[in-house]
């Protein structure tokens, strides 16, 4: 009989016309057809059936009502006790104060007629913490333990990510003219594949430390330690220290886990300069200025084991990278906020091997990466539940010094940026556009025909995506790329789901 109710929603799109979209029509019309198809047998139901159902419903409602009443009575009783305690406390303090006032008066009267009592002490009224005194010792009524993920276990969160990719060119043979790429700097493989499945543990270690561990399982069943760090909690003067393995604080996207990105793949400039995302072992120090607007300075010293560093780390004794960054931001008004950043990363590589056009390429030297990033978010009256807009752009420049396949690199500077916008046009639905561009410097005849030969090309990519969230924890995305970053143009269509379950600590700005 429930199918009969499908006739009502016909009017929904009209009622909600202001942001009706094709998707909603689809959602509504499919079940509608289904409902109509099923309505006929339902109509044949006898009157008896309906009556018995009505009776059952009546009973259920009564049961529900009485259960609710009982709950309410119980709750009201507890409230009453709480109020009585409050009233008692109030009376007690009033009495105490009256007594105090009386004492003061008599004291004043008894003493010689000198000017008022020492002005340095607190105003004559109640002695400090007089109000709470009677209730002060009693614990808070009933509230239970403080909000915590689960007793003393760390908060455990799981992220699952799956993709289907259709592409004209084989992602396995991906290359970007002018760039030696890190191992992971490729589009996802064709067909069905899993992205990284992550398991995250985090908890406060004690009053001074916070610990975080993220294990990533990739589609080839390989386990990687993505993040494993400890972090200080509340050092004085706004300092935070982090040690272990973590994603560097440079740029905007770099620090965020890939599953929170708004597109299914990394921007080209991240792919070319940072091997998708730069994380390494080391120490990070941040300092947050005590200002009303957000101003943060940070620096890192790292092992230098990950692309664009890498290779033999005995050359730099395990300290092969460092970075520095500044972030600033604030609210423009209630609706809009922004964050901007400036970063520098220096990474040393010693005989770093990357997949080349013919055998492995070997690079020894230093990569200097400069970055500038900006994010802007807007939501009507700052309410992100209905609609919001997120604009972001990052620009990076990278200079390589040293030798590439035994040839000394000339003075060079590669430049890349992306700009993207994502708009949530109704709850749970968003679309986004992204433009990517990267260009390597031309390095002269010595490098013609090598990986670093840019073929005189500027690499571009145009992306569009639509995603639907089942809730804060589940998301389905469709993305299209027109990719001109390969020697030949490519069309890519990516379907992706990302879910997270278990405990979930929220997202950074």
């Amino acid at each position: 009989m429930s199918h009969q109710r499908w006739d009502a929603p016909v009017a929904v799109p009209r009622g909600a016309s202001a942001h009706v979209c094709l998707a909603r029509h689809l959602i509504i019309s499919v079940p509608l057809v289904w409902g109509v198809l099923n309505a006929a047998p339902a109509l044949a139901q006898t009157q008896d059936d309906l009556q018995s159902i009505r009776r059952e419903m009546q009973q259920m409602r009564q049961q529900y009502d009485s259960a609710l009443k009982k709950l309410e009575q119980d709750y009201n009783a507890r409230l009453k006790r709480m109020e009585q305690r409050l009233d008692a406390a109030q009376k007690a303090t009033a009495a105490a104060q009256a007594k105090a006032n009386q004492a003061q008066k008599t004291a004043a009267a008894a003493s010689t007629p000198q000017p008022p009592p020492p002005a340095s002490s607190a105003p004559s009224a109640p002695p400090p913490d007089s109000t709470p005194a009677p209730a002060g010792g009693t614990p808070a009524p009933g509230g239970g333990t403080q909000t915590r993920a689960s007793a003393f276990n760390p908060a455990i969160g799981v992220v699952l990510d799956g993709k289907f990719m259709a592409a004209r060119r084989n992602p396995g043979s991906y290359s970007m003219p002018g760039f030696a790429l890190g191992e992971e700097a490729k589009p996802p493989p064709r067909g069905f594949s899993l992205g990284e499945s992550e398991i995250n543990f985090q908890a406060n270690v004690d009053q001074a430390l916070f610990g975080n561990l993220t294990i990533a399982l990739d589609r080839d069943n390989e386990v990687a330690l993505e993040e494993a760090y400890i972090q200080s909690l509340g050092l004085p003067a706004g300092f935070t220290v982090r040690a272990g393995r973590f994603f560097s604080g440079i740029g905007y996207l770099n620090e965020q886990h890939a599953h929170t990105w708004d597109f299914a793949d990394a921007p080209l400039v991240y792919r070319a300069f940072l091997g998708n995302q730069y994380g390494d072992d080391g120490v990070q120090v941040r300092w947050l200025a005590p200002t009303d607007f957000f101003l943060e300075f940070g620096g890192e010293v790292l092992r230098g084991a990950a692309f664009p560093a890498g290779g033999k780390d005995n050359h730099h004794l395990g300290v092969g990278a460092w970075s520095a960054f500044v972030h600033a931001g604030g609210d423009i008004d209630t609706s809009a906020s922004y964050r901007v950043g400036l970063s520098y990363l220096q990474t040393k590589a010693s005989q770093r091997e990357t997949e080349g056009l013919a055998g492995d390429d070997v690079f020894s030297g230093t990569a200097h990466t400069f970055g500038l990033d900006a994010v802007f978010k807007w939501a009507p009256e700052g309410n992100f539940a209905e609609r919001y807009l997120k604009l972001q752009a990052e620009i990076f420049a990278q200079r390589l010094t040293g030798t590439f396949n035994d040839a000394r690199l000339p003075n060079n500077m590669a430049l890349g940026f992306y700009i993207q916008g994502v708009y949530q046009f109704m709850p749970r639905w968003r679309f986004g556009l992204r433009y990517d561009q990267v260009r390597a410097d031309s390095l002269g005849p010595d490098f013609t025909g090598t990986t670093l030969d840019n073929h005189g090309r500027t690499l571009r990519r145009y992306s569009a995506m639509v995603d639907f969230s089942t809730s804060e924890f589940g998301r389905f995305r469709t993305q299209y790329n027109f990719d001109q970053s390969r020697p030949q143009n490519d069309h890519q269509l990516i379907f992706q789901y990302t879910v997270s379950f278990g405990s979930h600590g929220g997202h950074q700005y």
């Binding site: 109710r5 499908w6 006739d7 009502a8 929603p9 009622g15 909600a16 509504i28 509608l32 419903m57 609710l68 309410e72 709750y75 009201n76 709480m82 109020e83 009233d87 406390a89 607190a122 105003p123 009224a125 109640p126 400090p128 913490d129 109000t131 009524p141 509230g143 239970g144 403080q146 972090q231 200080s232 909690l233 509340g234 935070t240 941040r286 947050l288 200025a289 005590p290 200002t291 607007f293 957000f294 500044v326 972030h327 600033a328 931001g329 604030g330 423009i332 209630t334 906020s337 964050r339 009256e381 700052g382 309410n383 992100f384 809730s471 804060e472 600590g505 929220g506 950074q508 700005y509």
Partner: protein, 309 residues
């Protein structure tokens, strides 16, 4: 925008500000997560506090961004006053971690959760995300029952005295004054709202359980299929079917919620849709914690007479 502040000038400016920032602050710096606690802290703190409220009544408190401005404010706070019960779970832990302020970390005297001070309702029997955006500790929307706010006020005043003993007398005095006003106002509100007792309402979100318990209103349905889950057309159809059976007299939604769904249901069912402030600042009339309840009851009564909004 302040794009020009980055760079060397910013470093110099920051250092100057640090020096300025280390001088003793005159007032207790209070960071309130929601407007009701901002208003309460102001009532209790008077001129001894400087209150920053992180969200407005027009924002869904479940969905707030961990904005840079909030991190900066949290860094300077002496006392953080939030709802708790996981209402702010999507953004508060990030702010606390990034602000790196020992005074206000969870468990420190400078960290205050209002829901810790009162008994909570709607504690879920089963913790499962399939039930929607539920809160393990219970329903966090306690600010709609002034009796609970009164209890929170007493606890908050104690906490303010603990964090700022130099002004303890002032907090005590204002706490007593606030409690007196509340003790007088609560029976008055109850008398005014007497005709609401026994009425039935459909709500948008399960955000009114405390208000309804206080005033004796029954919730007979919600527009959201599950907490935080927008309604499907099937759910709305079912709801519209049920409204006459359950004899609902109004549809109630909060100032921060999209009125479209509530108006649609109300119109279809032929009952008024009533927008309530939900917190201080939700309507022009709800200026402080007293006018907030005045306005809530006034709107409910107007709705009952069919004079919607």
């Amino acid at each position: 925008m302040r794009f020009t502040t980055i760079g060397p000038a910013a470093i110099a400016a920051a250092l100057a500000l640090v020096v300025a920032g280390t001088s003793p602050a005159a007032a207790l710096d209070v960071f309130a997560c929601e407007p009701e606690w901002g208003a309460l802290a102001q009532e209790l703190g008077g001129s001894d506090v400087s209150v920053y409220t992180a969200t407005t009544a027009r924002q869904d408190p479940h969905q707030v961004q961990a904005r840079p401005a909030l991190i900066a404010r949290m860094r300077r706070a002496d006392l953080v006053v939030c709802t708790g019960a996981e209402l702010e779970v999507g953004w508060l832990p990030i702010l606390l971690r990034q602000a790196s302020n020992a005074k206000v970390q969870a468990g420190a005297p400078g960290y205050f959760e209002a829901t810790q001070q009162v008994p909570l309702m709607d504690k879920p029997q089963r913790l499962d995300r399939a039930q929607g955006d539920i809160h393990a500790a219970g329903n966090p929307h306690i600010q709609n029952d002034p009796r609970l706010v009164r209890a929170v006020a007493a606890a908050l005043a104690r906490r303010m005295q603990e964090v700022d003993p130099a002004h303890a007398a002032g907090y005590a005095q204002r706490a007593r004054a606030f409690d007196d006003r509340m003790a007088q106002a609560i029976p008055r509100w109850q008398t005014t709202a007497a005709s609401l007792r026994g009425t039935r309402a459909v709500t948008y979100h399960k955000g009114w359980v405390y208000l309804f318990t206080w005033l004796g209103i029954s919730e007979v349905g919600t527009i959201e299929a599950k907490p935080g889950v927008p309604p499907s057309s099937a759910w709305l159809a079912q709801l519209l079917d049920d409204i006459p059976k359950r004899n609902a007299q109004s549809v109630i939604y909060a100032a921060y919620q999209d009125p479209k769904a509530a108006n649609f249901v109300a119109q279809k069912a032929g009952i008024p849709a009533v927008m309530l402030p939900f917190t201080v600042g939700g309507t022009d009339e709800a200026k402080d914690l007293f006018s907030f309840y005045d306005d809530t009851i006034r709107r409910l009564l107007a709705g009952l007479k069919g004079v919607a909004r």
